[in-house]
């Protein structure tokens, strides 16, 4: 049975709430409320965000989000429910990869409800001078569908040979550790072209063409990426989304695009392509059927 996206929320960092963990928690609370669920209903919590407070390497940020949400944080007891939390990392494709992992556990019946969060913000403490991404958090609640509609399948690819790509590293500069994000010219275009190929292959798997799509939801929302994606898919640029002004949104970008493309009706009853491209280059695409 395909899994379905029950709710999607985005929280933009304001003046007082810029930390990535808090953005993820705020988005998760809202997404659960919209889906008519409580934190205790979450069986699986996957975080796909990368840049959070202090750039903690362990535990998984998902565990801290679970604790802050109050999603079954207590010691296990007989008849208890429990939540399993961990992180996936796949750059700006992370949210789709997180959805793919969650979809797998939903399909086998291992979980009833999964929460996928993604957020990035300046990690603070002078770790990331000139941090390039907008502080945004997002959350998606997924559940098991009852009919045939929902996420029909995924495809992913890592570019070979590798092209120009975004890189993000933490290194010691002689005085302190610093995060450096580089975004060379042509990186988004290479990711967009790969994303177009992956999306085209996914549609072909199902005997579909871009003309069959009601909606294309793409991330990142940069002109370079969207232009290359549209070009490779053979559709007018307007069909894959409008570039977003200001600093780019990173791992939460797919949810931003989803909110912009389908604010009220969501994906119900529509054929939609969700597609992301990012560092590697790498690309992931998902097909949602009505």
């Amino acid at each position: 049975m395909p899994s379905v996206l029950e709710s999607v929320t985005v929280v933009e960092g304001g003046r007082w709430r810029r930390g990535a963990r808090r953005l993820a928690v705020a988005a998760a609370r809202r997404a659960l409320r919209r889906a008519g669920l409580t934190p205790a209903d979450v069986d699986l919590l996957v975080n796909a965000g990368l840049y959070h407070e202090r750039l903690l390497g362990e535990p998984a940020l998902a565990a801290l989000v679970q604790d802050d949400l109050g999603a079954n944080p207590d010691d296990p007891h007989p008849g208890g429910h429990g939540t399993f939390s961990f992180d996936v990392a796949d750059g700006s494709c992370g949210m789709l990869t997180g959805l793919r992992v969650a979809d797998g556990f939903l399909r086998t019946g291992a979980v009833d409800h999964a929460l996928v969060v993604a957020s990035d913000a300046d990690p603070g403490r002078g770790l990331a001078p000139g941090f390039p991404f907008a502080p945004v958090g997002a959350a998606v609640v997924c559940g098991r569908g009852e009919g045939t509609g929902g996420i029909a399948g995924f495809r992913a690819s890592t570019g070979s040979p590798p092209g120009p790509t975004l890189t993000a590293t933490v290194a010691f500069d002689g005085r302190r550790n610093r995060l450096t994000v580089t975004r060379p010219a042509g990186a988004d275009a290479a990711a967009g072209a790969l994303a177009g190929d992956v999306a085209g292959a996914l549609l072909a798997d199902r005997g579909l063409t871009p003309d069959d799509l009601d909606l294309v939801v793409a991330n990142p929302l940069t002109a370079e990426f969207l232009g290359a994606l549209a070009d490779r898919l053979g559709v007018p640029p307007a069909r894959v989304g409008r570039p977003r002004d200001g600093r780019p949104v990173h791992t939460a970008g797919l949810a931003v695009a989803l909110e912009a493309a389908a604010p009220a009706a969501g994906l119900a009853g529509r054929t939609a392509l969700l597609v992301s491209g990012g560092a590697g280059p790498a690309a992931v695409a998902a097909l949602v059927l009505p």
Binding site: E58, D67, D75, D90, A156, A279, A282
Partner: protein, 361 residues
């Protein structure tokens, strides 16, 4: 507990098996005595007595990526599989160092490993779940194989994590230091090949995990502010208390879900933190469940230290090479990690895995 049992129904028509394991151990050894002589402060700590760790391996040339690639190649060679057959490659390490102590957030380590070994058609991404990372990756791979999404998945981890011990040696003053646990760390690479089992093969019976997030702040690691690499703050006694309290119940739940008794287990491989913690933990499990597995818990921490997300595979390879794991043996891998993550993977050794035993010259 999120539990995935091999049921072979329409939702998961296939069964997965662990078809191969491999590891990469750096040749350089650092004894606990040598490490404790390097501390900046006079600590008066007998770490070897406290933990049972005599020595650990430290990478002098390899980084996290190199260790992961080395383990992946070892695994494929032992299992007799080609990199081109790998359809999913998940990297699960805490450390993601390349080119020395440069931690790479993007692109993923998984993509770099796939490229290095020639797994060109594999779907790649990283999983992060502290020391439970590799078993979390195995749980994801098990799920994908069970559904038929892929036939062959490779889960890898390269932990060049001894730099945390180097940093801790500058700061530890007494046995109460929250960086004491960092002194137990050692370097290693690990790889697990998860693939579709043949008809009637027992394979991977269960993967069950839960996160007791109320204890998520007991162990935190992050890039150091004024030193290369990272530092870790651990409230080891508190973690030990929670593990002792919660593991028996969760192990019971996992065994019940798989229809097994603790006496059905031939081998238990717990996360390797210290000899004392492992033995106390198993005594508690035995008291709570009223029985013991057929063999004492596997201990490798004395030789390799705590190699983070790679400990279970380092121990599995050790047991296979020593001829102590035989086809038909039932094995429980028990994860315990910052988060606080508790997980159990139950599987039966099949002939293919037993054949992964290295032939000694």
């Amino acid at each position: 507990m999120l539990t995935e049992v091999a049921a072979e129904d329409e939702r998961g028509p296939y069964r997965a098996r662990i078809a191969g394991v491999g590891r990469a151990l750096p040749p350089a050894r650092l004894t606990t005595a040598e490490l404790m002589r390097s501390t900046r402060h006079r600590t008066r700590i007998d770490l070897e007595h406290l933990t049972g760790i005599r020595e650990r391996r430290v990478a002098t040339e390899d980084d996290s990526l190199g260790l992961a690639v080395g383990a992946a190649r070892d695994c494929l060679a032992r299992a007799g599989r080609r990199a081109e057959d790998v359809e999913l490659l998940v990297s699960c390490s805490i450390t993601k160092y390349r080119d020395g102590l440069v931690h790479w957030f993007e692109p993923t380590t998984a993509a770099a490993v796939a490229r290095a070994i020639g797994a060109g058609r594999a779907v790649t991404f990283d999983v992060a779940n502290a020391c439970a990372g590799t078993l979390t990756g195995v749980a994801v791979a098990n799920n994908w194989v069970r559904r038929g999404e892929v036939r062959c998945a490779l889960v890898v981890s390269g932990e060049r994590i001894s730099g945390l011990a180097t940093n801790a040696a500058r700061h530890v003053r007494s046995i109460a230091s929250r960086e004491l646990a960092s002194l137990t760390l050692g370097d290693a690479g690990a790889a697990v090949l998860v693939e579709r089992a043949g008809e009637g093969e027992p394979g991977l019976a269960l993967a069950g995990f839960t996160t007791v997030a109320g204890h998520s702040r007991l162990c935190l690691a992050a890039p150091a502010r004024r030193e290369p690499g990272a530092r870790m703050s651990t409230r080891a006694r508190a973690i030990h208390r929670v593990a002792i309290a919660d593991t028996p119940l969760l192990l019971r739940e996992a065994l019940d879900a798989a229809g097994l008794e603790v006496t059905d287990l031939d081998h238990v491989i717990p996360h390797q933190t210290s000899v004392r913690a492992i033995r106390t933990g198993m005594r508690t499990v035995a008291a709570a469940l009223g029985a013991t597995p057929r063999n004492p818990p596997v201990v490798t921490v004395d030789r390799y230290g705590n190699t983070a997300s790679t400990t279970h595979v380092v121990a599995l390879v050790e047991e296979l090479d020593a001829g102590r794991l035989r086809a038909g043996d039932r094995v429980a891998l028990v994860a315990l990690a910052s988060g606080l993550e508790i997980g159990v993977v139950l599987f039966t050794v099949d002939p293919c895995l037993e054949a992964c035993r290295a032939v000694r010259p």
